[in-house]
């Protein structure tokens, strides 16, 4: 008992046997979940699986019908304990949710509510305005900001709180692709430095997954799988999870060289070529969409810069498509039509060549 209490204190947040009921329906049931300090936990799952409900419950914004949320090992039950939890976390929603006031007022609001001293507020607000590149906007009315600027403001507002746990609920959705990329880049840099404990909810963001230390797959209000990113993506526990996570191949590697915008990234014993600006030595994550990968029985020359020999480890058929899991030193998932799979006589254990173009690889800095 005592030992358990001690170890529980090592978790930033913990959920024990929680169930959440909304409108008479049980929408979430989680027996055990820990948020580890200084780690990024990414919760994925289809729409309506209860991801946002789980996030709100962990952040103390939604009361579970039963069960306990523990913050640093201590149960959060009373109003005072809930308020205390609110004052230690920060939440960024999909909508920037700024108040009708200046950018400065918005960024300092949480700090003022938390009773931070005036000089400290000034210091922190300026730091994070600067960090997210919106210092010139400090005096602007929030209503006049563009979508990207508003998002930067809401991120700066969250980081200025220096939260023990940062929650992001589909925070990068609904932005145009240009500002989305630049905001995500900044966010990743900041998170890399600050090492903030983070819980991210997303249904499709490969960028968020690139940051994940641990991934939770949530379906129908239940946790189907918890594990490292590699775990979840190369060893989905069941067909449903496998079908859901077919979105990307996500592979960690280190840039070995960069020649005129073409990088060679070492992935285990292999090397992958990709288009990117990162310099040698950078730790990166490679994302390759399964439909970018072509399979061949024999190694053939083509314009594709990457070709790897491997073995088929699993075949999953769904509808007109087939998901082929391949081990070629690192795990790779290809998505091909059922007809191709049949014509090629694909089978488990069969040797295969997987190839993809250098332009088909999306490189993200870790």
């Amino acid at each position: 008992m005592r030992q358990e209490a001690v170890s529980a204190a090592h978790f930033a947040l913990e959920a024990r046997n929680i169930s959440v009921v909304l409108g008479g329906l049980k929408v979430l049931e989680v027996s055990s979940l820990q948020v580890l300090p200084n780690q990024v936990l990414v919760i994925i799952g289809p729409n309506g699986s209860g991801k946002t409900t789980l996030l709100l419950t962990l952040a103390g914004l939604l009361r579970p019908a039963s069960g306990t949320i523990l913050y640093q090992g201590q149960a959060v039950n009373s109003k005072a304990e809930i308020l205390r939890l609110h004052r230690r976390v920060a939440v960024v929603f999909q909508e920037p949710l700024l108040l009708n006031s200046t950018v400065w007022d918005n960024i300092t609001l949480g700090l003022r509510l938390r009773g931070v001293k005036k000089e400290e507020i000034k210091l922190r607000a300026n730091k994070w305005l600067e960090r997210f590149g919106i210092a010139p906007l400090a005096g602007r009315q929030a209503k006049t900001l563009s979508g990207g600027e508003a998002k930067r403001t809401s991120l700066a507002r969250a980081f200025a709180l220096q939260p023990d746990v940062l929650f992001l609920d589909e925070a990068f959705n609904g932005l145009d692709s240009h500002s989305r990329q630049s905001i995500i880049d900044d966010f990743q840099d900041v998170l890399g430095e600050a090492k903030t404990t983070t819980v991210i909810v997303t249904h499709d963001s490969s960028e968020a997954l690139a940051l994940a230390h641990r991934v939770i797959v949530l379906m129908d209000g239940h946790i189907r799988q918890i594990g490292s990113r590699e775990d979840v993506f190369s060893n989905p526990v069941d067909e449903q999870v496998a079908t859901f996570v077919e979105v990307e191949n996500i592979i960690s590697g280190v840039v070995a060289s960069n020649q005129g915008g073409i990088v060679t990234v070492n992935v285990g014993k292999d090397a992958v070529e990709a288009v990117s600006d990162y310099a040698a030595g950078e730790e990166v994550t490679l994302c390759i969409r399964p439909e970018e990968i072509t399979l061949a029985g024999l190694r053939a020359t083509s314009s594709a810069r990457n070709s790897f020999a491997g073995k088929i480890t699993r075949l999953v058929f769904f509808g007109a498509l087939t998901r082929v899991e391949i081990d070629c030193g690192f795990p790779l998932v290809a998505l091909i039509t059922k007809r191709s799979a049949e014509e090629m006589n694909l089978d488990k254990g069969k040797p295969i060549y997987a190839s993809f173009k250098a332009t088909g690889v999306h490189v993200i800095k870790r």
Binding site: F93, L97, L113
Partner: protein
């Protein structure tokens, strides 16, 4: 035609010279309607916030009452207040009938649902997630309500305008519970009615002009505040 011109000339005279009777009537109008509006704000804003944000049994019924109250005819309100304050009525011992206090009570009953209803609508038009965002920033319940009210300050100003506008220009209830007693319960609207019924148009015209100016000024001030807090 002569009547109108005569009336306007005489009313101008009354206004320019600051006739004490006119002044007294205007002052009482402002006092009674101002007090009723302030009371309605004190009670109506929290009531509207609770109706707009909280979920409890009987809420829909209360909302329907407020909505009905927003359109309730002043004469009916006047009759109800009179019945209660009548010497033999339930509150007759207070001896409030035909006093400015009775007029404040009646006008409060008229403006309260308007301000509660507007408050409810203005907090409800905010993104429900904004509440979660404010709470997650570390606001207590009270701080959250304060921030939400601040956020809906523009529609709230409209509530004040509508509330004050409805009672300053109301005549039925004030006439019934006040009695239009000269020097005691005579306000602008009741005075206008009284003067016209006696065929004395000049004072009625003068008071009407003043009433219009007053309503215009109040709305102008509120509009300026409202427009200033809007983004340029």
């Amino acid at each position: 035609m002569d009547l109108i011109i005569q009336g306007i000339i005489q009313s101008f005279w009354l206004l320019v010279h600051g006739d004490p009777a006119v002044l007294r009537v205007v002052l009482l109008s402002l006092l009674v309607s101002g007090a009723a509006t302030i009371l309605s704000l004190i009670v109506g804003v929290p009531f509207g916030v609770v109706l707009g944000l909280a979920r409890f049994p009987g809420r829909r019924f209360l909302i329907s009452l407020v909505n009905t109250g927003m359109g309730s005819p002043p004469v009916v309100v006047g009759l109800i207040v009179t019945l209660f304050l009548w010497r033999a009525g339930p509150l007759g011992v207070l001896h409030l009938l035909y006093t400015p206090s009775a007029m404040v009570i009646a006008q409060f009953i008229i403006s309260f649902p308007i301000i509660a209803g507007f408050t409810m609508a203005s907090v409800q038009q905010l993104d429900p997630k904004l509440r979660l965002q404010i709470i997650s920033l570390g606001a207590s319940q009270l701080q959250m309500v304060w921030l939400l009210l601040k956020e809906s300050r523009l529609p709230l100003l409209a509530a004040i305008m509508a509330g004050f506008g409805s009672v300053i220009s109301e005549v039925g209830a004030s006439m019934m519970v006040g009695g239009n007693i000269t020097g005691q319960t005579r306000v602008m609207t009741t005075a206008i009615v009284g003067e016209v019924s006696r065929g004395q148009f000049s004072l009625a015209i003068a008071l009407s002009i003043l009433l219009m100016i007053l309503v215009y000024l109040v709305n102008l001030i509120l509009t300026i505040i409202q427009q200033r807090s809007k983004p340029r």
